[in-house]
């Protein structure tokens, strides 16, 4: 389980100003649970992802991953190995000269034996439909394809939890669906997912939806219920998804017509 408790974080300006971006955030993600998170621009979504990955150190509060504290210097590495984070801009992940070496990069750093790396890379390449690009330089591929490479790299690490920060942003419709289905499968197989998204409708894949507002978890509930709630969606910086509005119009119309 990922357990976040009373987490606070501020960005320090070069001057004396500091801005509280994460304000007393607490939540848990169980193994096997797919949790979606939405919030307006600047509500702290990406900052939260950085904190969960241990890139930023919290001002106060704790983050533990399967009881290993990510802010404790001795437990940090064990905790970090259990979590993989995917960022919204795939080029931040890309470090190597070919797609397959990019996927292998983190595995090499974790000291995985070469034969096992080959197996895991091949599995990830076929799972994400990247075999035909395996020898290509990632920078020669489109934004959407780069995002798939980044995802494949994370997948190959075989983490217990995956944190996704708006990873479907640059993907085409079919790829978005396949990524969501893969993450759903990851959760069904016992992994935990935190899926930060700019598309509220995608949270219908999740078991639970969190709404982040001004650095605080404003709501936590069943996605299909929260998505229909106009005032809660307003707080999340969104509106009720058109899909749900037209579904309801259609239902009322069908009933009205008898």
């Amino acid at each position: 389980m990922i357990s976040v408790s009373e987490l606070c974080f501020s960005y320090k300006d070069l001057g004396a100003n500091s801005q509280r971006v994460i304000n007393d955030v607490s939540f848990e993600i169980e193994k096997g649970e797919f949790v979606a998170l939405i919030g307006s621009n600047g509500s702290g979504k990406s900052t939260l992802a950085m904190l969960l990955n241990g890139v930023y150190a919290p001002e106060s509060g704790t983050i533990s991953v399967d009881n290993f504290n990510i802010t404790d210097s001795e437990e940090r590495l064990t905790a970090k190995k259990k979590i993989a984070v995917l960022f919204q801009n795939p080029s931040e992940h890309i470090v190597s000269g070919s797609v397959e070496s990019d996927i292998a990069f983190s595995l090499e750093n974790y000291g995985i034996p070469p034969l096992e790396i080959r197996e895991r890379v091949d599995e990830a390449l076929s799972l994400f439909g990247l075999h035909e690009f395996s020898k290509k330089h990632p920078r020669q591929l489109s934004g959407g394809e780069q995002q798939k490479i980044a995802l494949a790299g994370v997948w190959a690490l075989n983490p217990n939890y995956i944190i996704c920060d708006e990873v479907t942003t640059y993907l085409d419709y079919e790829s978005r669906k396949s990524v969501l289905e893969l993450l759903k499968k990851f959760a069904l197989d016992g992994g935990g997912v935190l899926f930060i998204t700019q598309f509220p409708i995608e949270s219908l894949y999740a078991d639970r939806l969190l709404i982040l507002n001004e650095g605080n978890i404003h709501d936590s509930g069943i996605p299909s219920e929260l998505l229909k709630n106009e005032s809660k969606m307003n707080i999340s910086g969104h509106t009720v998804p058109k899909q749900l509005i037209v579904d309801e119009l259609l239902m009322n119309y069908s009933m009205g017509r008898g």
């Binding site: 960005y11 300006d13 939405i38 919030g39 307006s40 621009n41 600047g42 979504k45 990406s46 919204q88 801009n89 080029s91 070919s98 035909e132 690009f133 395996s134 020898k135 290509k136 330089h137 020669q140 591929l141 489109s142 934004g143 959407g144 394809e145 995002q147 798939k148 708006e166 942003t169 640059y170 993907l171 085409d172 419709y173 079919e174 790829s175 978005r176 700019q198 509220p200 969606m233 999340s236 910086g237 969104h238 509106t239 998804p241 058109k242 899909q243 509005i245 037209v246 579904d247 119009l249 259609l250 009322n252 119309y253 009205g256 017509r257």
Partner: protein, 277 residues
């Protein structure tokens, strides 16, 4: 007519083994005041084509005919962080204006009003470094940079990416206003709902070629065609199609949700009054 791409042939060479990418487009016309959506799967060549139009990449073969020497084109990039490099957002916005010979005072005014248009309060954001902005804020700052300029053709590469729903709605109204001002818009996006609310013409690229170029409504109301390219049919159009098939409707144009609601409410009241008489 603003410009015509007689031929655009771009081949992205790859020293490693693997597929080469070829973009091959010919006889592509852009008329003044058009709103053109460019869609297609990842890797279809959308961004490459936009970079060709702005002259950022040279073609192996091909040329653009511009019918008026004064036609100007501006573009925002898929990754807005790639276009900011100065200390403050404000500096990044005004540098292009100053290079065009606009006074700093005027440039400041343009910058402030453009930031306000994208809902970034200039007092709060103008003096920030882009690294201190969230992804959605960077996207809006990049759009503001473009809005300061009086281009004839605006190209937006994934303008709605990373924006929350309210900011997407604001962007849609900015685009509608640009259209009213007679500007030509080329919008690259994976978001078919967004494209359907902003564009009248749709271009679908597949593997470097234009596979569809025509009315957006005709494309999405032919759902088999849209599906064959793996594009999502916008939810509203999907509902209109359902109503066409199962009730006595004949929708063939994109409408807004509130318009659909009125049509359905009226239709129900007509049905009820029919049954009473």
């Amino acid at each position: 007519m603003l410009l015509k791409v007689n031929r655009c042939e771009v081949s992205l060479e790859n020293s490693l083994s693997g597929r080469n990418f070829n973009l091959d487009i010919s006889d592509f016309l852009i008329d003044s005041g058009e709103t053109i959506g460019i869609m297609g799967q990842s890797g279809a060549g959308k961004t490459t084509f936009a970079r060709f139009l702005t002259g950022l990449i040279k073609t192996d073969r091909g040329n653009i005919e511009i019918f008026d020497d004064r036609v100007s084109i501006g573009m925002t990039f898929q990754y807005p962080e790639n276009q900011f490099y100065l200390n403050t957002i404000y500096d990044d916005i005004i540098i292009g204006l100053i290079e065009k010979g606009i006074s700093e005072n005027d440039a400041r005014e343009f910058a402030n009003s453009a930031l306000e248009r994208v809902n970034l309060n200039p007092d709060e954001y103008a003096n920030k470094n882009h690294q201190h902005l969230s992804a959605g804020e960077k996207r809006r700052a990049a759009i503001a940079t473009l809005l300061c300029n009086d281009y004839d053709i605006f190209i937006f590469d994934e303008p709605s990416a990373g924006l929350d729903g309210k900011e997407i709605d604001n962007l849609i109204s900015i685009f509608h206003k640009l259209k009213q001002e007679g500007k030509t818009l080329l919008i690259i996006s994976q978001n078919s709902e967004f494209i359907s609310q902003t564009c009248e013409r749709l271009v679908v690229l597949d593997d470097g070629r234009i596979e569809y170029d025509g009315s957006l409504s005709k494309f999405f109301f032919n759902d088999e065609l849209a599906k064959s390219f793996g594009l999502e049919i916008p939810p509203l159009i999907k509902t209109q199609l359902y109503l066409n098939r199962h009730f006595d409707f004949n929708f063939e144009n994109v409408i807004r949700v509130d318009e659909l609601k009125t049509i359905l409410d009226n239709s129900i009241s007509v049905t009820i009054s029919d049954s009473l008489t």
